[in-house]
Symmetry: C2
Subunit: 421 residues, 2 copies
């Protein structure tokens, strides 16, 4: 179990590995899992996971509130998923053609998701969002896509035009809107005119500092209406929230169906899979261009996905995650208030966000968030200072209770260092 | 074992699955593993693999000469790889940060590959080629890339500009050359002028009809020289041939080192992994942009890769594959001659290509290749009518002997249908 509040983690193996990594990995580590921008107490290397708990290479144990940045939705090494994986692995994974699993999984997803008449599979979330955009352009014969001005839809020139190493052309045919501000969508749609191919919308919107903006009913309905009026394709990027908020799609509760949805992360409890589902009318366009990858049809990740989604269905997994997230949110709110530290929690409780109101994210000054998550990590609770968190069905009441014992200390440290507000 | 030459496969389960797939997958199946363009005798769904043999959903057994279009380099379910996978899986795969495997694998690859001072990992071959290009552009501060006019470097707007669903801007900053024609490289480099960021070259070149062009020493040295003279980055796309021709990189035998190499396919015997290695001077640029994916740091595929590469090293796997490929090529040549059917075999024997000289690939008329591979598939030998084939260390002398018994019948069928040449 994680160390008691007064017993802090040590990180000797991690430090030795970081030294080796510095010689053979760019900058010692790259991408979203680099610990370079995380405070003291966060390891760079993990060794083991079980349920809601993870162990780093020094044997330090953590209650895991990042769930591998989303994929782990049933807890690490969930027995039902592992059994399905073992059964498929015993037969094989990667062949000259797919296994029966691709048909079963497509049948399952198209049953669950209202606008899903067919399904398509790949490996990265960015594969799915990129395919969705290509599909919209192929179907409409138009080029211009609208996207949220702060939205993250994945890596690659399609989505990261303007970044270092991209070309000036990579942002051609893209216009931006402000999330939850329908007027900006309409202005951009007017500017695109009859070249409007797609409006791409994140199911939930977090900016780079973890601040969440709730999609309101008028916005959700409004983008649907703009698409209906213009013939543009409504593409929902459900990579971050998919299968945590609603098994029928994260906008199902709004009564609004997109045309195309992109999935990844929670789809297979950590096994590498991404998917697109879409309405029937887009099938022809999908058949008219070539999109493929070496491992896109492998059976093991699809077997894992079938087991994951079926388990979420059969156990009302979304409600379980919501319960754990609610307990955590209520506990943190009460603690912050009792310590006199001003915080704001936002987002669905399954993918929550916590900000310290006296921090200054616009100027990258986050000393309270850094201190809070550092003190928690050193005591066996893995949160994140800037990114939204992810909960799973494996988070038990005991996990939350133990977590709150640690965060109580972490709040006290924030108060000691920065005073109450 | 595969059926004897006179006993043909049946495909009832496959047909039933194709009917279900037609309702839930675009066009019934998509990408390079769609059987729609393959002749009778090729199943759409596989159930099992072991060594050099695969079984479809009807229980038909085939000797596998596609190796999952490349990934299977040691044969399906190689015991050493499977043991490494089982050990890593028992601890976990996908965490908030990588496992120790990423350091071990990067150390192994940078030891093996001359120009590999550091390594970077992702999931798709197209991730690796796309990252390599972004790296070249970031490092040079220039935009224009040269690529082979028929080269396949993976899916996505970076590489498939001009395809349906791409925008007119996707081919900006790209110029083409003719493989093995250094003069065309020089012309394109002159046209790019001081904006030349990269020359991207396939380690081996096959056109869309499987015709191979041998990279000659003058071409290989020449592109190196152009890069040295202009400051452009030499990017080797070693996705197709990597780890089958030379563990030090597919151009190592030329004595010419690229600056950056992209790997996928054979890197992990079917487990989903791609990689880039590059010289030290490019490390800074790699640290200055954000490129990441949900599953890029997962431990299982990296454990599989370590086991795969180590096994290839310890058993001289490349020589084993070369031996099997040589036996196959010599046998096919002798058979074709004895049947009076004109063929041309080309490419390294580990990734071989066979064409029927009386076929007309330019007009998509390949009746001999279709008949030949169809008759072979129905008798338990999985070849491909248009794509190059892949061999593995699992292909035994007995496999080749049994294969040649089947291809002898297939050549006879070609001769019966189309006459000798």
């Amino acid at each position: 179990m994680p160390p008691a509040a007064e017993q802090l983690n040590a990180y000797e193996q991690d430090a030795a590995l970081r030294e080796r990594a510095a010689r053979v990995l760019p900058g010692g580590m790259y991408g979203h899992q680099s610990a370079a921008r995380l405070p003291e107490g966060f390891p760079q290397f993990f060794a083991r996971g079980e349920g809601s708990h993870i162990w780093d290479v020094d044997g330090n144990e953590y209650i895991d509130y990042m769930c591998s940045y989303g994929p782990i939705v049933l807890g690490h090494r969930h027995p039902t998923v592992e059994r399905a994986v073992a059964a498929q692995s015993a037969e094989g994974d990667c062949f000259n053609a797919p296994t029966e699993r691709i048909v079963e999984l497509a049948e399952l997803m198209t049953c669950l998701i209202g606008h899903g008449d067919w399904a398509w599979f790949a490996k990265n979330g960015s594969d799915a969002t990129r395919f969705a955009l290509q599909l919209a352009r192929a179907h409409t014969g138009r080029n211009t896509a609208l996207r949220g001005e702060r939205a993250y839809h994945g890596w690659g020139s399609t989505w990261m035009g303007g970044a270092l190493g991209m070309t000036p052309s990579d942002t051609d045919f893209q216009l931006t809107y402000t999330y939850n501000d329908l007027a900006t969508v309409r202005v951009a749609a007017d500017e695109a005119g009859d070249d409007l191919a797609a409006i791409v919308v994140s199911a939930v919107e977090y900016d780079e500092n973890g601040k969440w903006t709730a999609p309101d009913q008028a916005f959700v309905q409004g983008v649907r209406d703009v698409c209906d009026a213009t013939g543009a394709v409504l593409v929902l990027d459900d990579v971050r929230a998919g299968f945590r908020l609603d098994l029928g799609g994260s906008w199902a509760s709004y009564g609004v169906e997109p045309d195309v949805s992109a999935y990844c992360k929670a789809i297979a409890n950590g096994y590498p899979l991404a998917a697109v589902v879409a309405r029937r009318e887009f099938e022809d366009a999908a058949g008219q261009f070539f999109a493929t990858g070496s491992y896109w049809f492998s059976g093991v990740a699809m077997a894992a996905s079938i087991a994951t989604i079926t388990t979420l269905q059969e156990t009302d997994g979304v409600a379980q995650i919501r319960r754990a997230g609610t307990l955590l949110r209520e506990g943190l709110d009460a603690q912050a208030q009792s310590h006199g530290v001003a915080i704001q929690q936002s987002g669905p409780v399954q993918v929550p966000s916590l900000r310290f109101l006296e921090d200054d994210p616009a100027n990258l000054q986050l000393p309270r968030a850094m201190t809070f998550t550092s003190e928690a990590a050193k005591r066996g609770v893995y949160l994140h200072p800037t990114h939204n968190w992810f909960l799973s069905t494996a988070h038990s009441d005991e996990d939350i209770e133990r977590t709150l014992a640690v965060t109580d200390v972490a709040f006290a440290q924030v108060k000691d260092a920065f005073g109450s507000d």
